[in-house]
Protein backbone atom coordinates (compact mmCIF):
# COMPACT_ATOMS: atom_id res chain seq x y z
CA UNK A 1 0.00 0.00 0.00
CA UNK A 2 1.50 3.27 -1.04
CA UNK A 3 0.10 6.76 -1.33
CA UNK A 4 -1.27 7.87 -4.64
CA UNK A 5 -0.08 11.42 -4.22
CA UNK A 6 3.63 12.09 -4.47
CA UNK A 7 4.51 13.41 -1.05
CA UNK A 8 7.52 13.24 1.18
CA UNK A 9 5.72 12.72 4.42
CA UNK A 10 7.87 11.43 7.30
CA UNK A 11 7.00 7.86 6.45
CA UNK A 12 3.28 8.12 7.02
CA UNK A 13 2.65 4.90 5.18
CA UNK A 14 5.20 3.08 7.19
CA UNK A 15 6.92 -0.07 6.18
CA UNK A 16 5.60 -3.25 7.76
CA UNK A 17 6.88 -3.65 11.25
CA UNK A 18 7.30 -7.37 11.23
CA UNK A 19 9.65 -9.60 9.26
CA UNK A 20 9.90 -9.18 5.53
CA UNK A 21 6.84 -10.31 3.73
CA UNK A 22 6.76 -12.43 0.66
CA UNK A 23 4.37 -11.21 -1.98
CA UNK A 24 5.12 -13.60 -4.82
CA UNK A 25 3.77 -17.06 -5.29
CA UNK A 26 5.81 -19.68 -7.06
CA UNK A 27 6.12 -23.39 -7.20
CA UNK A 28 8.04 -23.52 -3.96
CA UNK A 29 5.70 -21.43 -1.91
CA UNK A 30 2.26 -22.41 -3.04
CA UNK A 31 -0.83 -20.26 -3.03
CA UNK A 32 -1.80 -17.55 -0.67
CA UNK A 33 -4.82 -18.27 1.46
CA UNK A 34 -7.50 -15.67 1.83
CA UNK A 35 -9.42 -15.87 5.08
CA UNK A 36 -12.24 -13.62 6.08
CA UNK A 37 -11.83 -13.30 9.83
CA UNK A 38 -15.16 -12.10 11.05
CA UNK A 39 -17.75 -10.74 11.29
CA UNK A 40 -18.50 -13.88 13.26
CA UNK A 41 -15.23 -14.68 14.90
CA UNK A 42 -14.58 -15.08 18.61
CA UNK A 43 -11.75 -12.57 18.75
CA UNK A 44 -12.87 -9.63 16.68
CA UNK A 45 -14.48 -8.04 19.72
CA UNK A 46 -17.84 -7.73 18.06
CA UNK A 47 -18.72 -7.73 14.40
CA UNK A 48 -15.49 -6.52 12.95
CA UNK A 49 -14.01 -8.22 9.93
CA UNK A 50 -10.47 -8.58 8.74
CA UNK A 51 -9.94 -9.92 5.25
CA UNK A 52 -6.50 -11.40 5.61
CA UNK A 53 -4.32 -12.97 2.97
CA UNK A 54 -2.05 -15.58 4.42
CA UNK A 55 1.19 -17.11 3.33
CA UNK A 56 1.11 -20.18 5.50
CA UNK A 57 0.10 -18.46 8.69
CA UNK A 58 1.90 -15.22 7.95
CA UNK A 59 -0.22 -12.25 7.03
CA UNK A 60 0.75 -10.61 3.77
CA UNK A 61 -2.32 -8.42 3.42
CA UNK A 62 -5.01 -7.32 5.79
CA UNK A 63 -8.07 -5.33 4.97
CA UNK A 64 -10.34 -4.17 7.78
CA UNK A 65 -14.04 -4.11 6.93
CA UNK A 66 -16.43 -2.09 9.03
CA UNK A 67 -20.08 -1.29 9.21
CA UNK A 68 -21.75 -4.40 10.54
CA UNK A 69 -22.94 -2.48 13.57
CA UNK A 70 -23.59 0.77 11.75
CA UNK A 71 -26.80 2.43 12.85
CA UNK A 72 -26.04 5.99 11.79
CA UNK A 73 -25.88 7.29 15.29
CA UNK A 74 -25.05 10.74 13.93
CA UNK A 75 -28.21 10.92 11.86
CA UNK A 76 -30.31 9.79 14.79
CA UNK A 77 -28.72 12.48 16.93
CA UNK A 78 -29.37 15.14 14.33
CA UNK A 79 -33.04 14.27 14.44
CA UNK A 80 -33.49 14.45 18.20
CA UNK A 81 -32.82 17.04 20.82
CA UNK A 82 -29.43 17.48 22.45
CA UNK A 83 -30.51 15.73 25.60
CA UNK A 84 -32.06 12.77 23.84
CA UNK A 85 -28.69 11.92 22.30
CA UNK A 86 -27.16 11.48 25.72
CA UNK A 87 -28.43 7.92 26.26
CA UNK A 88 -27.29 7.07 22.74
CA UNK A 89 -23.76 8.10 23.58
CA UNK A 90 -23.82 5.36 26.22
CA UNK A 91 -24.08 2.91 23.39
CA UNK A 92 -21.08 4.19 21.50
CA UNK A 93 -18.43 2.81 23.74
CA UNK A 94 -20.61 0.65 25.87
CA UNK A 95 -17.83 -0.22 28.25
CA UNK A 96 -17.15 3.39 29.18
CA UNK A 97 -20.47 5.15 29.09
CA UNK A 98 -19.48 7.54 31.86
CA UNK A 99 -16.61 9.06 29.96
CA UNK A 100 -18.50 9.01 26.68
CA UNK A 101 -21.28 10.92 28.39
CA UNK A 102 -18.76 13.38 29.65
CA UNK A 103 -17.25 13.87 26.21
CA UNK A 104 -20.65 14.72 24.81
CA UNK A 105 -21.55 16.95 27.74
CA UNK A 106 -18.18 18.65 27.37
CA UNK A 107 -18.81 19.41 23.72
CA UNK A 108 -22.33 20.68 24.36
CA UNK A 109 -21.13 22.81 27.25
CA UNK A 110 -18.48 24.28 25.01
CA UNK A 111 -21.10 24.91 22.34
CA UNK A 112 -23.50 26.58 24.73
CA UNK A 113 -20.96 28.25 26.98
CA UNK A 114 -22.30 26.37 29.95
CA UNK A 115 -20.48 26.40 33.27
CA UNK A 116 -20.16 23.32 35.48
CA UNK A 117 -20.07 23.45 39.29
CA UNK A 118 -17.00 22.21 41.14
CA UNK A 119 -18.57 19.18 42.71
CA UNK A 120 -19.79 17.98 39.35
CA UNK A 121 -16.33 18.41 37.88
CA UNK A 122 -14.88 16.26 40.63
CA UNK A 123 -17.62 13.68 40.23
CA UNK A 124 -16.93 13.56 36.52
CA UNK A 125 -13.27 12.92 37.12
CA UNK A 126 -14.09 10.22 39.66
CA UNK A 127 -16.44 8.51 37.27
CA UNK A 128 -14.19 8.92 34.28
CA UNK A 129 -11.26 7.41 36.10
CA UNK A 130 -13.39 4.56 37.41
CA UNK A 131 -14.44 4.04 33.82
CA UNK A 132 -10.82 3.99 32.75
CA UNK A 133 -10.17 1.25 35.27
CA UNK A 134 -13.23 -0.65 34.06
CA UNK A 135 -12.16 -0.35 30.47
CA UNK A 136 -8.54 -1.22 30.99
CA UNK A 137 -9.41 -4.16 33.21
CA UNK A 138 -11.77 -5.45 30.54
CA UNK A 139 -9.26 -4.85 27.81
CA UNK A 140 -6.46 -6.63 29.61
CA UNK A 141 -8.78 -9.54 30.33
CA UNK A 142 -9.90 -9.81 26.76
CA UNK A 143 -6.34 -9.44 25.55
CA UNK A 144 -5.42 -12.50 27.57
CA UNK A 145 -8.36 -14.33 26.15
CA UNK A 146 -7.05 -13.53 22.71
CA UNK A 147 -3.71 -14.81 23.87
CA UNK A 148 -5.36 -18.12 24.64
CA UNK A 149 -6.04 -18.28 28.34
CA UNK A 150 -9.17 -20.12 29.35
CA UNK A 151 -10.92 -17.01 30.64
CA UNK A 152 -9.06 -16.91 33.94
CA UNK A 153 -7.48 -13.43 33.71
CA UNK A 154 -10.62 -12.15 32.06
CA UNK A 155 -12.79 -13.35 34.90
CA UNK A 156 -10.46 -11.93 37.53
CA UNK A 157 -10.66 -8.61 35.73
CA UNK A 158 -14.41 -8.93 35.44
CA UNK A 159 -14.69 -9.68 39.12
CA UNK A 160 -13.10 -6.32 39.90
CA UNK A 161 -14.93 -4.57 37.11
CA UNK A 162 -18.18 -5.89 38.47
CA UNK A 163 -17.58 -4.11 41.73
CA UNK A 164 -17.14 -0.80 39.93
CA UNK A 165 -20.09 -1.48 37.69
CA UNK A 166 -22.18 -2.10 40.80
CA UNK A 167 -21.15 1.34 41.98
CA UNK A 168 -22.28 2.78 38.66
CA UNK A 169 -25.58 1.02 39.03
CA UNK A 170 -26.08 2.32 42.53
CA UNK A 171 -25.33 5.82 41.36
CA UNK A 172 -26.90 6.11 37.94
CA UNK A 173 -29.46 3.32 37.90
CA UNK A 174 -27.84 1.27 35.20
CA UNK A 175 -24.74 -0.82 35.04
CA UNK A 176 -23.38 0.13 31.68
CA UNK A 177 -25.87 2.52 30.11
CA UNK A 178 -25.35 5.13 32.77
CA UNK A 179 -26.77 8.22 31.08
CA UNK A 180 -25.41 10.20 33.97
CA UNK A 181 -23.85 13.42 32.79
CA UNK A 182 -25.98 16.42 31.94
CA UNK A 183 -25.15 19.70 30.26
CA UNK A 184 -23.98 21.74 33.20
CA UNK A 185 -23.49 19.04 35.76
CA UNK A 186 -24.48 15.56 36.75
CA UNK A 187 -27.80 13.91 37.28
CA UNK A 188 -27.66 12.38 40.74
CA UNK A 189 -25.66 13.40 43.76
CA UNK A 190 -23.90 10.40 45.27
CA UNK A 191 -24.63 9.63 48.88
CA UNK A 192 -21.85 9.61 51.46
CA UNK A 193 -22.20 5.83 51.66
CA UNK A 194 -21.60 5.57 47.95
CA UNK A 195 -18.51 7.71 48.19
CA UNK A 196 -17.22 5.67 51.10
CA UNK A 197 -17.77 2.42 49.24
CA UNK A 198 -16.10 3.77 46.12
CA UNK A 199 -13.17 5.06 48.10
CA UNK A 200 -12.73 1.72 49.81
CA UNK A 201 -12.85 -0.06 46.49
CA UNK A 202 -10.25 2.24 45.02
CA UNK A 203 -7.97 1.76 47.99
CA UNK A 204 -8.21 -1.99 47.56
CA UNK A 205 -7.71 -1.95 43.84
CA UNK A 206 -3.88 -1.93 43.78
CA UNK A 207 -3.97 -5.24 45.62
CA UNK A 208 -5.81 -6.75 42.71
CA UNK A 209 -3.37 -5.20 40.26
CA UNK A 210 -0.43 -6.61 42.16
CA UNK A 211 -1.92 -10.06 42.11
CA UNK A 212 -2.77 -9.71 38.45
CA UNK A 213 0.73 -8.64 37.57
CA UNK A 214 2.24 -11.41 39.65
CA UNK A 215 0.13 -13.87 37.75
CA UNK A 216 0.85 -12.61 34.26
CA UNK A 217 3.35 -9.84 33.70
CA UNK A 218 6.40 -12.06 34.09
CA UNK A 219 4.88 -15.03 32.36
CA UNK A 220 7.35 -16.33 29.79
CA UNK A 221 4.64 -17.21 27.32
CA UNK A 222 3.22 -13.72 27.57
CA UNK A 223 6.63 -12.20 26.96
CA UNK A 224 7.18 -14.44 23.98
CA UNK A 225 3.78 -13.73 22.55
CA UNK A 226 3.75 -9.96 22.98
CA UNK A 227 7.26 -8.52 23.02
CA UNK A 228 8.24 -7.38 19.57
CA UNK A 229 4.81 -8.14 18.18
CA UNK A 230 2.90 -5.41 16.36
CA UNK A 231 5.48 -2.66 16.62
CA UNK A 232 4.23 0.83 16.01
CA UNK A 233 6.60 3.69 15.31
CA UNK A 234 5.92 7.02 16.97
CA UNK A 235 6.03 9.06 13.76
CA UNK A 236 3.61 6.74 12.02
CA UNK A 237 1.30 6.71 15.00
CA UNK A 238 1.13 10.51 15.17
CA UNK A 239 0.52 10.82 11.48
CA UNK A 240 -2.22 8.22 11.61
CA UNK A 241 -3.98 10.07 14.39
CA UNK A 242 -3.59 7.21 16.83
CA UNK A 243 -4.32 8.32 20.36
CA UNK A 244 -4.61 6.98 23.83
CA UNK A 245 -2.55 4.19 25.36
CA UNK A 246 -1.63 2.87 21.91
CA UNK A 247 0.08 6.16 21.08
CA UNK A 248 1.73 6.44 24.45
CA UNK A 249 3.02 2.87 24.15
CA UNK A 250 4.90 4.13 21.09
CA UNK A 251 6.57 6.70 23.31
CA UNK A 252 4.62 9.84 22.42
CA UNK A 253 3.74 11.93 25.44
CA UNK A 254 0.27 13.09 24.52
CA UNK A 255 -2.47 12.73 27.07
CA UNK A 256 -5.35 15.13 26.79
CA UNK A 257 -5.71 15.14 30.56
CA UNK A 258 -2.38 16.95 30.57
CA UNK A 259 -2.54 18.71 27.21
CA UNK A 260 -6.03 20.14 27.40
CA UNK A 261 -6.38 19.80 31.17
CA UNK A 262 -10.11 19.70 30.66
CA UNK A 263 -12.31 19.45 33.70
CA UNK A 264 -10.20 19.86 36.80
CA UNK A 265 -7.37 17.58 35.74
CA UNK A 266 -4.84 20.35 36.24
CA UNK A 267 -5.57 20.12 39.97
CA UNK A 268 -4.47 16.51 40.13
CA UNK A 269 -1.06 15.06 40.51
CA UNK A 270 -0.54 12.11 38.26
CA UNK A 271 1.96 10.79 35.76
CA UNK A 272 1.60 9.53 32.23
CA UNK A 273 3.33 6.21 31.59
CA UNK A 274 5.21 6.04 28.31
CA UNK A 275 6.28 3.00 26.36
CA UNK A 276 9.38 2.61 24.33
CA UNK A 277 8.95 -0.16 21.82
CA UNK A 278 5.35 0.37 20.82
CA UNK A 279 4.69 -3.34 20.78
CA UNK A 280 1.84 -5.34 22.23
CA UNK A 281 3.59 -5.78 25.56
CA UNK A 282 4.00 -2.04 25.94
CA UNK A 283 0.37 -1.52 25.09
CA UNK A 284 -0.59 -4.06 27.73
CA UNK A 285 1.66 -2.46 30.32
CA UNK A 286 0.36 1.01 29.50
CA UNK A 287 -3.07 -0.16 30.60
CA UNK A 288 -1.79 -1.64 33.82
CA UNK A 289 0.24 1.45 34.68
CA UNK A 290 -2.60 3.79 33.74
CA UNK A 291 -4.87 1.90 36.09
CA UNK A 292 -2.37 2.55 38.86
CA UNK A 293 -2.28 6.24 38.00
CA UNK A 294 -6.06 6.32 37.89
CA UNK A 295 -6.12 4.96 41.40
CA UNK A 296 -3.93 7.88 42.47
CA UNK A 297 -6.23 10.40 40.79
CA UNK A 298 -9.24 8.79 42.40
CA UNK A 299 -7.70 8.91 45.85
CA UNK A 300 -6.99 12.61 45.42
CA UNK A 301 -10.49 13.20 44.11
CA UNK A 302 -12.14 11.46 47.04
CA UNK A 303 -9.99 13.45 49.38
CA UNK A 304 -10.72 16.83 47.81
CA UNK A 305 -14.32 16.35 46.68
CA UNK A 306 -16.07 19.64 47.52
CA UNK A 307 -19.66 20.00 48.60
CA UNK A 308 -22.12 22.06 46.69
CA UNK A 309 -24.59 21.75 43.87
CA UNK A 310 -24.02 19.20 41.16
CA UNK A 311 -25.94 21.11 38.54
CA UNK A 312 -25.35 24.62 37.33
CA UNK A 313 -28.46 26.60 38.32
CA UNK A 314 -28.52 28.29 34.93
CA UNK A 315 -28.50 24.98 33.08
CA UNK A 316 -31.64 24.25 31.15
CA UNK A 317 -33.01 20.76 31.08
CA UNK A 318 -36.17 21.42 29.10
CA UNK A 319 -36.07 23.48 25.95
CA UNK A 320 -32.31 23.50 25.58
CA UNK A 321 -31.31 25.51 22.52
CA UNK A 322 -27.69 26.55 22.15
CA UNK A 323 -26.87 29.58 20.06
CA UNK A 324 -25.77 29.07 16.49
CA UNK A 325 -22.15 28.10 16.29
CA UNK A 326 -19.91 25.10 16.35
CA UNK A 327 -17.67 23.43 18.87
CA UNK A 328 -15.33 20.48 19.00
CA UNK A 329 -15.00 19.03 22.46
CA UNK A 330 -12.58 16.24 23.11
CA UNK A 331 -11.32 14.31 26.06
CA UNK A 332 -9.05 11.43 26.87
CA UNK A 333 -11.37 8.47 26.88
CA UNK A 334 -9.81 5.18 27.94
CA UNK A 335 -9.40 4.29 24.28
CA UNK A 336 -7.98 7.56 23.05
CA UNK A 337 -9.18 10.94 22.01
CA UNK A 338 -12.95 10.91 21.98
CA UNK A 339 -14.31 14.03 20.37
CA UNK A 340 -17.72 15.40 19.61
CA UNK A 341 -18.12 17.99 16.90
CA UNK A 342 -21.39 19.87 17.18
CA UNK A 343 -22.84 22.46 14.87
CA UNK A 344 -25.85 24.31 16.12
CA UNK A 345 -28.21 26.39 14.03
CA UNK A 346 -30.17 27.58 17.03
CA UNK A 347 -32.80 24.86 16.92
CA UNK A 348 -33.34 22.25 19.64
CA UNK A 349 -31.64 19.65 17.46
CA UNK A 350 -27.98 19.76 16.47
CA UNK A 351 -27.47 20.60 12.82
CA UNK A 352 -24.38 18.48 12.67
CA UNK A 353 -23.36 15.96 15.26
CA UNK A 354 -20.18 14.08 14.75
CA UNK A 355 -18.34 11.59 16.89
CA UNK A 356 -14.61 11.27 16.56
CA UNK A 357 -14.25 7.61 17.44
CA UNK A 358 -10.84 6.69 18.82
CA UNK A 359 -11.52 3.01 18.22
CA UNK A 360 -11.97 3.52 14.49
CA UNK A 361 -9.01 5.79 13.96
CA UNK A 362 -6.69 3.64 16.04
CA UNK A 363 -7.36 0.88 13.54
CA UNK A 364 -5.84 2.94 10.73
CA UNK A 365 -2.47 1.26 11.05
CA UNK A 366 -3.78 -2.21 11.81
CA UNK A 367 -2.48 -3.57 8.53
CA UNK A 368 0.99 -2.13 9.01
CA UNK A 369 1.13 -3.55 12.49
CA UNK A 370 0.00 -7.00 11.45
CA UNK A 371 2.00 -7.51 8.26
CA UNK A 372 4.57 -10.22 8.66
CA UNK A 373 3.00 -11.60 11.78
CA UNK A 374 0.80 -14.66 12.07
CA UNK A 375 -2.94 -14.99 12.46
CA UNK A 376 -2.47 -15.58 16.15
CA UNK A 377 -0.59 -12.30 16.43
CA UNK A 378 -3.15 -10.38 14.40
CA UNK A 379 -5.78 -11.35 16.92
CA UNK A 380 -3.57 -10.18 19.76
CA UNK A 381 -2.63 -6.93 18.04
CA UNK A 382 -6.27 -6.17 17.42
CA UNK A 383 -6.99 -6.98 21.03
CA UNK A 384 -4.24 -4.67 22.23
CA UNK A 385 -5.53 -1.75 20.18
CA UNK A 386 -8.73 -1.89 22.18
CA UNK A 387 -11.73 -1.33 20.02
CA UNK A 388 -15.41 -1.38 20.76
CA UNK A 389 -17.51 -1.94 17.73
CA UNK A 390 -20.30 0.26 18.97
CA UNK A 391 -17.90 3.12 18.56
CA UNK A 392 -16.15 1.94 15.41
CA UNK A 393 -19.33 1.52 13.41
CA UNK A 394 -21.54 4.01 15.19
Amino acid sequence: MSPAAPTQAPAPFGAPSGPTVRTVTDAFHGDLLEVSMGPQHPSTHGVFRMDVTLDGEVIVKLKPVFGYLHRNHEKIAENTSYLASMPYTDRLDYLCSMSTNWAYALAVEKLAGQAVPDRAQYLRIILAELTRIVNHACLVGFLFNDLGTSFTPLLYAFREREKIIDLFEALSGSRMMCNYQRFGGCRIDPSPEWLAAASRLVDNFPRFLDEYERMLTGNEILLARTQGVGRLKAANAINAGITGPVLRAAGVNYDLRKVDAYGFYSRFDFRVPLGEHGDTYDRYMMRILEMRESVKILQQAFRDLPTGPIMDPKAKIRGFRPKAGEAYGRLESPKGELGFYLLSDGTPNPYRYRVRPPSLINLTLLEEMCLGHTVADAVVILGSIDIVLGEVDR
Binding site: L83, A84, Y88, E169, S174, S191, R214, N219, E220
Partner: protein, 207 residues
Protein backbone atom coordinates in the same frame (compact mmCIF):
# COMPACT_ATOMS: atom_id res chain seq x y z
CA UNK B 1 14.95 -18.64 35.30
CA UNK B 2 12.65 -19.91 32.63
CA UNK B 3 9.42 -21.07 34.18
CA UNK B 4 9.43 -18.85 37.23
CA UNK B 5 6.76 -16.59 35.74
CA UNK B 6 4.65 -19.63 34.96
CA UNK B 7 5.07 -20.97 38.48
CA UNK B 8 4.04 -17.62 39.95
CA UNK B 9 0.96 -17.67 37.77
CA UNK B 10 0.11 -21.17 38.95
CA UNK B 11 0.48 -20.00 42.54
CA UNK B 12 -1.91 -17.11 41.97
CA UNK B 13 -4.56 -19.31 40.40
CA UNK B 14 -4.17 -21.79 43.24
CA UNK B 15 -4.67 -18.98 45.70
CA UNK B 16 -7.80 -17.93 43.90
CA UNK B 17 -8.99 -21.50 43.83
CA UNK B 18 -8.69 -21.74 47.57
CA UNK B 19 -10.05 -18.25 48.06
CA UNK B 20 -13.18 -19.03 46.11
CA UNK B 21 -14.26 -21.33 48.93
CA UNK B 22 -14.06 -18.90 51.81
CA UNK B 23 -13.44 -15.36 50.55
CA UNK B 24 -16.57 -13.50 49.48
CA UNK B 25 -14.31 -10.86 47.89
CA UNK B 26 -13.18 -13.47 45.43
CA UNK B 27 -16.40 -15.37 45.00
CA UNK B 28 -18.77 -12.55 44.26
CA UNK B 29 -21.34 -14.57 42.35
CA UNK B 30 -24.93 -14.36 43.49
CA UNK B 31 -27.04 -17.46 42.91
CA UNK B 32 -29.70 -15.54 41.11
CA UNK B 33 -33.18 -16.95 41.47
CA UNK B 34 -32.63 -17.91 45.11
CA UNK B 35 -30.42 -15.01 46.11
CA UNK B 36 -30.83 -11.56 44.73
CA UNK B 37 -28.44 -8.67 44.73
CA UNK B 38 -30.15 -5.61 46.21
CA UNK B 39 -31.28 -2.99 43.73
CA UNK B 40 -29.99 0.49 44.36
CA UNK B 41 -32.15 3.49 45.12
CA UNK B 42 -31.69 4.82 41.60
CA UNK B 43 -32.01 1.55 39.75
CA UNK B 44 -34.22 1.92 36.70
CA UNK B 45 -35.82 -0.50 34.34
CA UNK B 46 -38.93 0.61 32.48
CA UNK B 47 -41.29 3.54 32.99
CA UNK B 48 -44.49 3.44 34.99
CA UNK B 49 -47.31 5.92 35.40
CA UNK B 50 -48.09 7.04 38.92
CA UNK B 51 -51.73 7.19 39.92
CA UNK B 52 -53.07 8.51 43.20
CA UNK B 53 -55.57 5.82 43.96
CA UNK B 54 -54.87 2.15 43.45
CA UNK B 55 -58.60 1.39 43.34
CA UNK B 56 -59.16 3.62 40.36
CA UNK B 57 -55.82 3.68 38.56
CA UNK B 58 -57.00 5.10 35.27
CA UNK B 59 -59.15 7.75 36.85
CA UNK B 60 -56.43 9.16 39.06
CA UNK B 61 -53.42 9.22 36.79
CA UNK B 62 -51.16 12.16 37.34
CA UNK B 63 -50.45 12.30 33.65
CA UNK B 64 -51.99 15.26 31.85
CA UNK B 65 -50.97 14.12 28.37
CA UNK B 66 -48.60 17.01 27.83
CA UNK B 67 -46.57 14.74 25.48
CA UNK B 68 -43.21 16.09 26.59
CA UNK B 69 -42.01 12.56 27.22
CA UNK B 70 -43.32 11.43 23.85
CA UNK B 71 -41.34 14.15 22.12
CA UNK B 72 -38.15 13.70 24.10
CA UNK B 73 -38.06 9.92 24.25
CA UNK B 74 -34.85 9.02 22.42
CA UNK B 75 -36.07 5.80 20.82
CA UNK B 76 -39.59 7.17 20.40
CA UNK B 77 -41.29 4.36 22.21
CA UNK B 78 -44.07 6.37 23.87
CA UNK B 79 -47.35 7.02 22.16
CA UNK B 80 -49.97 9.30 23.70
CA UNK B 81 -53.38 10.41 22.59
CA UNK B 82 -54.92 13.27 24.48
CA UNK B 83 -58.46 13.28 25.72
CA UNK B 84 -61.06 15.63 24.36
CA UNK B 85 -62.51 16.53 27.76
CA UNK B 86 -60.83 17.60 30.97
CA UNK B 87 -60.80 16.07 34.38
CA UNK B 88 -59.66 17.62 37.64
CA UNK B 89 -56.16 16.50 38.52
CA UNK B 90 -54.48 16.08 41.88
CA UNK B 91 -54.49 19.79 42.54
CA UNK B 92 -58.08 20.07 41.48
CA UNK B 93 -57.27 21.89 38.29
CA UNK B 94 -59.12 20.61 35.24
CA UNK B 95 -56.60 18.90 32.99
CA UNK B 96 -56.49 16.73 29.95
CA UNK B 97 -55.71 13.09 30.47
CA UNK B 98 -54.29 10.42 28.17
CA UNK B 99 -56.85 8.30 26.37
CA UNK B 100 -54.10 6.15 24.99
CA UNK B 101 -50.71 5.88 26.63
CA UNK B 102 -48.54 3.05 25.34
CA UNK B 103 -44.91 2.29 25.89
CA UNK B 104 -43.25 -0.23 23.68
CA UNK B 105 -40.88 -1.91 26.10
CA UNK B 106 -39.35 -3.79 23.22
CA UNK B 107 -38.02 -0.44 22.04
CA UNK B 108 -37.62 1.32 25.37
CA UNK B 109 -34.01 1.51 26.47
CA UNK B 110 -34.73 2.52 30.03
CA UNK B 111 -32.77 5.74 29.87
CA UNK B 112 -35.10 7.54 32.26
CA UNK B 113 -35.25 10.78 30.32
CA UNK B 114 -39.06 10.69 30.35
CA UNK B 115 -39.07 10.53 34.15
CA UNK B 116 -36.50 13.26 34.35
CA UNK B 117 -38.39 15.64 32.13
CA UNK B 118 -41.95 15.01 33.30
CA UNK B 119 -43.15 18.26 34.89
CA UNK B 120 -46.08 16.55 36.60
CA UNK B 121 -44.13 13.78 38.39
CA UNK B 122 -46.31 11.34 36.59
CA UNK B 123 -43.93 9.07 34.69
CA UNK B 124 -41.37 7.35 36.88
CA UNK B 125 -38.94 4.51 36.42
CA UNK B 126 -39.93 1.11 37.70
CA UNK B 127 -37.54 -1.45 39.14
CA UNK B 128 -39.06 -4.61 37.73
CA UNK B 129 -36.54 -6.10 35.37
CA UNK B 130 -37.98 -9.55 34.87
CA UNK B 131 -40.25 -8.69 31.97
CA UNK B 132 -41.17 -11.47 29.64
CA UNK B 133 -43.84 -11.98 27.06
CA UNK B 134 -44.70 -14.69 24.63
CA UNK B 135 -45.53 -12.26 21.86
CA UNK B 136 -42.85 -9.79 21.09
CA UNK B 137 -45.17 -7.27 19.45
CA UNK B 138 -48.27 -6.93 21.56
CA UNK B 139 -46.86 -8.67 24.58
CA UNK B 140 -44.27 -6.01 25.16
CA UNK B 141 -46.54 -3.13 24.27
CA UNK B 142 -47.69 -1.84 27.64
CA UNK B 143 -51.02 -0.04 27.78
CA UNK B 144 -52.24 2.55 30.24
CA UNK B 145 -53.69 0.06 32.68
CA UNK B 146 -50.49 -1.99 32.71
CA UNK B 147 -48.37 1.08 33.22
CA UNK B 148 -50.46 2.62 35.97
CA UNK B 149 -49.00 1.93 39.41
CA UNK B 150 -50.19 3.44 42.62
CA UNK B 151 -48.33 6.07 44.52
CA UNK B 152 -47.95 3.58 47.35
CA UNK B 153 -46.05 1.28 44.99
CA UNK B 154 -43.90 4.18 43.92
CA UNK B 155 -43.18 4.84 47.58
CA UNK B 156 -42.22 1.22 48.05
CA UNK B 157 -39.62 1.23 45.29
CA UNK B 158 -38.17 4.72 45.69
CA UNK B 159 -38.97 5.92 49.19
CA UNK B 160 -36.75 9.00 49.28
CA UNK B 161 -37.64 10.32 45.88
CA UNK B 162 -41.36 9.61 46.34
CA UNK B 163 -41.44 11.41 49.66
CA UNK B 164 -39.84 14.42 48.06
CA UNK B 165 -42.31 14.35 45.18
CA UNK B 166 -45.23 14.02 47.56
CA UNK B 167 -44.05 16.94 49.65
CA UNK B 168 -43.69 19.05 46.55
CA UNK B 169 -47.10 18.08 45.25
CA UNK B 170 -48.68 18.71 48.63
CA UNK B 171 -47.09 22.13 48.73
CA UNK B 172 -48.34 22.84 45.25
CA UNK B 173 -51.77 21.63 46.17
CA UNK B 174 -51.77 23.80 49.26
CA UNK B 175 -50.62 26.75 47.25
CA UNK B 176 -53.29 26.09 44.68
CA UNK B 177 -55.93 25.77 47.37
CA UNK B 178 -54.81 28.93 49.02
CA UNK B 179 -54.71 30.64 45.72
CA UNK B 180 -58.19 29.37 44.95
CA UNK B 181 -59.35 30.45 48.38
CA UNK B 182 -57.75 33.81 47.95
CA UNK B 183 -59.25 34.07 44.53
CA UNK B 184 -62.65 33.11 45.87
CA UNK B 185 -62.27 35.58 48.70
CA UNK B 186 -61.16 38.24 46.31
CA UNK B 187 -64.00 37.39 44.06
CA UNK B 188 -66.45 37.51 46.90
CA UNK B 189 -64.93 40.72 48.12
CA UNK B 190 -65.05 42.14 44.66
CA UNK B 191 -68.62 41.01 44.29
CA UNK B 192 -69.48 42.50 47.64
CA UNK B 193 -67.71 45.68 46.76
CA UNK B 194 -69.43 45.72 43.47
CA UNK B 195 -72.72 45.08 45.14
CA UNK B 196 -72.00 47.81 47.60
CA UNK B 197 -70.72 50.26 45.09
CA UNK B 198 -73.16 49.69 42.32
CA UNK B 199 -76.34 51.65 42.53
CA UNK B 200 -79.13 49.29 43.23
CA UNK B 201 -80.92 48.73 39.97
CA UNK B 202 -83.33 46.35 41.51
CA UNK B 203 -85.15 46.92 44.68
CA UNK B 204 -83.32 45.41 47.64
CA UNK B 205 -86.35 43.37 48.44
CA UNK B 206 -85.79 41.42 45.24
CA UNK B 207 -82.21 40.49 46.19
Amino acid sequence: MLGSGILKGLAVTAKNFAGSFYDPERMATVQYPEERAPLGEHYRSFPLLVCENAADPLGTLRCVACTICEKECPPQCIYIEKSKDKKPDATGKPQLYPVIFTIDTAVCMGCGICAELCPFDSIKMDKVFEVTATNRFTGLLLERDQLAKSNAYYHSIRPAEAAEVDARLAAERLAAEEKAKAAALAKAAAAAAKAAAAPPTTPPSAA
